[in-house]
């Protein structure tokens, strides 16, 4: 039974690899550079309203410590105003990233469509070809 399982796994594994290989050969997937750009865009799309002050330790000197403490207080007092703005910006950023990804997908699909005819178009081409061949034979027979 183990042999049967191994054989079945090997067989289906080969079929899967064949599908993946075909994708690599025919895909209009993004170049590595474009993919890297998309990944970087995704990583930087979310902005953080919380910048660390005096982290992981307080700066040296009394003046610097007083400044840091004041900044912490001001940040806390303005949180109610800043956070909603940041949230709006994050929503916009994510929407743009998603829209760009969808556009890239559509572009890839269009590229594929332009390269090879659809099934319907191919069927038309084949039918027309057969008609041409039949007409050509008729002409030859008459000659």
């Amino acid at each position: 039974m183990e042999n049967e399982l191994t054989a079945s796994i090997t067989q289906t594994g080969k079929q899967i690899e064949s599908i993946l290989q075909k994708v690599r050969e025919t895909s209009h997937a993004s170049s590595p550079v474009r993919t890297a750009i998309f990944r970087r865009m995704q990583q930087t799309a979310t902005i953080n309203s919380h910048w660390h002050i005096a982290w992981p330790h307080w700066p040296p000197g009394i003046r610097a410590k007083v400044t840091a403490a004041s900044q912490k207080i001001i940040r806390r007092l303005l949180q109610w105003y800043i956070d909603p703005i940041v949230e709006q910006q994050n929503q916009f950023n994510q929407t743009v990233v998603n829209a760009l990804q969808l556009l890239a997908d559509d572009l890839a699909a269009l590229q594929t469509l332009c390269q090879s005819p659809s099934e319907v178009q191919q069927a038309k081409i084949d039918r027309l070809q057969r008609q041409i061949n039949a007409l050509y034979r008729q002409i030859q027979d008459k000659d």
């Binding site: 183990e2 399982l5 079945s8 796994i9 090997t10 067989q11 289906t12 594994g13 080969k14 079929q15 899967i16 690899e17 599908i19 993946l20 075909k22 994708v23 690599r24 895909s27 209009h28 997937a29 993004s30 170049s31 590595p32 993919t35 995704q42 990583q43 979310t46 953080n48 992981p56 330790h57 929503q91 994510q94 929407t95 998603n98 829209a99 990804q101 969808l102 997908d105 890839a108």
Partner: protein
């Protein structure tokens, strides 16, 4: 043999809690061992089977009880709140550590740096890596700039492994990674066990599938794709949903079930709406482990992508495959043991999106092929992730590397 098992339990929302409970129950069926559980003090466990079977203590109580145990097992993961309490005990009471993730950097950061204890964090970094710019690394991990990769490059498991009597990991990749830096430490690879929470009788996949589909009001001919767990960006749901959307013109009755919930910073709902998939996608939200697991049986295809990773073996694919669901995973090192053909492994590269589309289309168009992969996966899990055998391996390892 009496075992102290430092772990996380339900209601903690973690696959590690789910898995630990299943493992503990399986191990406890061995008549020659007794297991006591030690947990954090900030929650009350709520699994009736666990409450009935085990004595459960908070970690504070361990010191007074330590002498009664022949072996200690630490169920570790890279989450400070869930696993941080164990780290001190790992050094004071050496035992066998189970590294569910191959990095504990964030866990260590949580219990040191993030609590104002900079010196302890710097000491750990110096011990492990010598003179590196530790705070710069911490900042980059904290702010997510290549965070996962950096956390893997600086895993901060060195002192933990050095203190341990033995290490258990779940992949050969993990075993090699540990041995590369610690060739003298006994490291065992023991796979995750397959089980269904709250169920001891043999599983009937067809019956579970029918019940799960009925719970979602799904007719039998609906093609159902599913993903489960906590949804974060590195699970690439965008690509999965895009592949699903591509199917719809030819399979308009298809549905996508997202069994779980998204983290707050990941606006998954907006993404689904933007793609125009709101009528086709259901997000279930958090479910208790038994309901969550049963829902997976409704899927014709389960998708579980994960990249980048932090070295751990994802548990969800094991469960999906064990349930007889045709499963698609990322072709990553921790999943190298799963053969192509028992599941479908897609490389996380520039072709990922197109590969997913092609594969999903093929699976939707070819139910026999899909069922063959599902059958292969179920048989593979039955042979290699049998909970009874795995529980015995844990017991053996603990008896060999006990105190």
């Amino acid at each position: 043999m009496r075992i102290a098992f430092f772990t996380v339990l339900s209601p903690i929302r973690s696959a590690l809690a789910d898995c630990a409970e299943g493992l503990a129950l399986a191990m406890s069926r061995n008549q020659d061992i007794t297991i006591d559980l030690f947990i954090n003090d900030d929650y009350k466990p709520d699994n009736p089977q666990i409450l009935e079977r085990f004595k459960i203590y908070t970690y504070h109580e361990f010191t007074a009880l330590a002498d009664r145990y022949q072996s200690i097992m630490y169920w570790l993961g890279d989450h400070g709140r869930y696993h941080g309490f164990m780290l001190d005990f790992v050094h004071r009471y050496p035992g066998v550590v189970v590294l569910n993730d191959l990095t504990l950097h964030r866990c260590v950061m949580d219990i040191t740096l993030n609590r104002g204890n900079t010196e302890s964090y710097l000491a750990e970094m110096r011990y492990a890596y010598g003179d590196v710019n530790a705070l710069e690394i911490a900042w980059r991990i904290k702010t997510g700039q290549e965070g996962d990769q950096l956390a893997l490059d600086y895993p901060l498991i060195e002192r933990i492994v050095d203190s341990s009597l033995g290490v258990i990991v779940h992949s050969e990749y993990g075993r090699r990674k540990i041995l590369n830096r610690h060739p003298e430490v006994p490291v065992q690879r023991i796979p995750y066990p397959f089980f269904m929470p709250g169920q001891s009788a043999p599983i009937e996949p067809e019956k579970m599938r029918a019940e799960a589909r009925a719970s979602f009001n799904l007719p039998e001919d609906t093609f159902v794709v599913g993903s489960s767990g906590i949804f974060v960006p590195n699970k690439h749901l965008g690509d999965s949903l895009s592949a699903f959307a591509h199917l719809l013109p030819r399979h308009p009755n298809s549905k996508y079930i997202l069994s779980g919930f998204a983290v707050p910073e990941y606006n998954l709902n907006a993404h689904i709406e933007q793609m125009g998939l709101s009528d086709y996608v259901t997000i279930t939200g958090w479910q208790p482990p038994d309901a969550f697991s049963r829902q997976m049986a409704a899927f014709d295809v389960g998708i579980h992508l994960r990249y980048p990773h932090i070295g751990g073996v994802p548990y969800t694919p094991i469960r999906l495959m064990g349930l007889g669901v045709c499963t698609i995973v990322s072709d990553i090192e921790p999943l190298a043991e799963l053969p192509q053909g028992a599941c479908i492994k897609i490389p996380p590269d520039v072709y990922q999106r197109d590969s997913l589309r092609a594969i999903l289309e093929h699976l939707a168009d070819n139910p026999d092929f899909r069922k063959e992969i599902a059958h292969n996966g179920q048989q593979y899990i039955s042979q290699n992730h049998n909970i009874v055998k795995i529980a015995e391996r844990y017991i053996q390892t603990l008896s060999i590397y006990g105190r």
